[in-house]
């Protein structure tokens, strides 16, 4: 076939200027993944890395829908969880003596995710926008009901658990050790991320973006937008299933909570905080939110409140997410306009810290009031003894918060103005 004579150069011609950049990124990421567990050589560090890797794959798969396809899926954890259950059942088969190499088990997750996303997508992708979101919410409820109804498959309340190190060792690895399972998980994360990135460069990937922007026009260009949404949905389910499989290997247990709405909400949160406008935004979001969850989770009971506040803050003031913030500053820094921002930005920092201190003070007092009432110790905060039962003690954080907010009110607009001025300069300075 003459069509097959596609020269290799044509492949690179399509990505002008940046053709090799991805190889450097990939090599750097792989190198980082290799050394990271040795830099954080503790059980906590490695478990943190595993959670990040799982969250990255899950968030990237979610963004195939939200960022690439404009589809807000309120039930994405369904495919994550069912992928996890599929993996766990194979792990149990392996425990029972059937030869199934543990590192390959996330493939079962992929299959579980795909098989569950096909009927769900068949229903949901007939609609777009709000109707699509509503349908996915319904599907999520259905899936939870289904899992609860079949305890012989899904283990009821306790879930399904297995032992990844019970199999005979494979080339001397039994995958019981944290470091060994880390490398399995990191390899899957890298593979899944590369595949999801590659899909954005294919006809389907580009059509998905087109359907997000203007489904009607796609229909008049020879493609059925519902079919494109469906294919995207099925692939996103597949990769969510991979993430679920990775988690099944890591935790050695999958429960109904893995498919529930809280898990679906968590992936929305991290994807949005990272930013849906770029491919790598969700990676950033997954890393930051996982860090917050695990680091704050050990420090305070109020961590969910803090990640909720962060989410609200991002939606209101930085809808492009962390990656949006980076993207709107990178060209300014490159053009040497950074010095115009620095002073105004630095001025905001003390005000922001004051506000944050006040917020944390109030939140912790409220949480510890509960602890004291149930007979616990209030503990210390920022080196001070916390006395939540003393009304006077509430005055200090309240003042901090009010003072911080007042300062922000005058300083934040000036920082924003500096940013706008810098962009005006940039637009004027660059020839079209």
């Amino acid at each position: 076939m003459a069509d097959q004579a596609a020269p290799q150069t044509a492949l690179l011609a399509g990505v002008p200027g940046r053709s090799r950049a991805w190889m450097i990124w990939l090599a750097a990421t792989a190198a980082l993944a290799l050394v990271a567990p040795h830099l954080l050589a503790s059980g906590f560090g490695i478990s943190l890395l595993n959670r990040m890797a799982i969250a990255i794959v899950f968030a990237l798969s979610f963004n195939m829908l939200l960022g690439q396809g404009g589809m807000l899926d309120f039930g994405h954890a369904v495919f994550f969880g069912l992928g996890g259950f599929a993996t766990m059942h194979l792990l149990k088969l392996a425990d029972a003596g059937i030869f199934l190499p543990v590192p390959l088990l996330p493939l079962a997750g992929a299959l579980g995710g795909l098989v569950s996303a096909v009927p769900a997508g068949w229903v949901a992708t007939r609609r777009e926008g709000t109707s699509f979101a509503m349908v996915t919410l319904g599907i999520a409820e259905l899936a939870v009901a289904f899992v609860v109804m079949l305890p012989q498959w899904f283990g009821g309340e306790e879930g399904v658990s297995g032992d990844r190190s019970a199999e005979p060792a494979l080339f001397g690895f039994d995958f019981g050790a944290a470091l060994q399972i880390y490398y399995v998980i990191a390899a899957w994360a890298l593979l899944a991320a590369v595949l999801m990135w590659a899909i954005t460069r294919t006809p389907l990937g580009r059509l998905t973006n087109a359907v997000r922007d203007n489904p009607l026009r796609v229909d008049f260009l020879g493609y059925d937008p519902a079919r494109i949404r469906f294919l995207c949905f099925a692939l996103a389910g597949l990769f969510a299933g991979v993430a679920g499989g990775m988690q099944a290997l890591n935790d050695e247990i999958v429960t109904v909570s893995n498919i529930g709405s809280a898990a679906s909400g968590a992936v929305l949160l991290m994807t949005y905080i990272g930013g849906v406008g770029t491919f790598w935004g969700p990676v950033l979001g997954a890393i930051v939110v996982t860090l917050l969850q695990m680091a704050l989770g050990t420090l305070t009971d109020a961590w969910q409140l803090y990640s909720g506040l962060l989410f609200v803050f991002m939606v209101l003031w930085a809808p492009g997410g962390l990656s949006g913030i980076i993207l709107s500053h990178a060209p300014l820094l490159r053009a040497g306009l950074g010095h115009r921002l620095l002073a105004r930005y630095l001025a905001v920092v003390p005000a922001a810290l004051l506000t944050l201190a006040g917020l944390i003070g109030l939140a912790e007092m409220a949480y510890r009031l509960q602890a004291v009432r149930s007979g616990g110790a209030p503990g210390r905060l920022f080196g001070f003894a916390v006395m939540p039962t003393d009304p006077v003690a509430w005055v200090a954080p309240t003042l901090l918060l009010l003072g911080g907010l007042l300062a922000l009110r005058s300083l934040a607009p000036r920082a924003r103005a500096a940013w706008q001025e810098a962009h005006t300069l940039l637009a004027r300075g660059t020839p079209r």
């Binding site: 596609a6 399509g14 990505v15 294919t202 087109a210 009607l216 260009l221 020879g222 079209r432």
Partner: protein
Amino acid sequence: MTENTALALEDLHKSFGATAIIRGVSLDIRAGSCHAIIGPNGAGKSTLFHLITGRLKLDRGRIRLAGHDITGLSPHRVFRHGLARSFQVTSLFPRLSVFENLRVAAMWQARCGHAYWRSVAGYPGLHGRVLDMLENLHLTPRRNVPAAALAYAEQRTLEIGLALIGGAHTILLDEPTAGMSRAETERAVALLRRLAGGRTLVLIEHDLSVVFDLADTISVLAEGQVIASGSPQTVRGDAAVRAAYLGTAAEDLA
């Protein structure tokens, strides 16, 4: 219907509720011609386009495209039979670059299908086709700009480009020069003439200078019916057309 009919409309009817918008339209559009459809506001011109392209369902009638019955097909199937269209209200992919807009529009023709296992840059001819169209539209310097950031006339030009690049043999253009200045309109007309190249153009247009410049056949639609059809000379002299075009447009016709 004869051998060289690109598009045959047979007794089309469409009502919205009790209001009949299209009331028995029949037209034969000759292959390779430029056929303008004119008529006062509310005559049903855009509705007619929506019916032909499958956006709206017919109440009655039959549509044939190069001999194939396309009655009742959805828009993407109509496109696959070789009919593309542009929109009166610009309808682009706002967040995609100009290049990416054109590439998406050329994908079906390049047999990309729904592939998710092969780089879009690897399809033979696709890249070159987009570059050629960029050149023809004079949008090459703007190729990496998101469509939303283009100036209005540039967006209108890209709108025409999306309809032309997909390899359709029949192209429906809904007011391609709407909102353009005199100079921009002249450029768009030149572009259409250059790129038509043996294809059939069906044109809705209010600007009668564009109509008389481009069209070799004109049909006049009024109140959902074709009241006159023929060469520009015949239509210009038709009494019924003059009656439908009372006011300023009548002076344009003369």
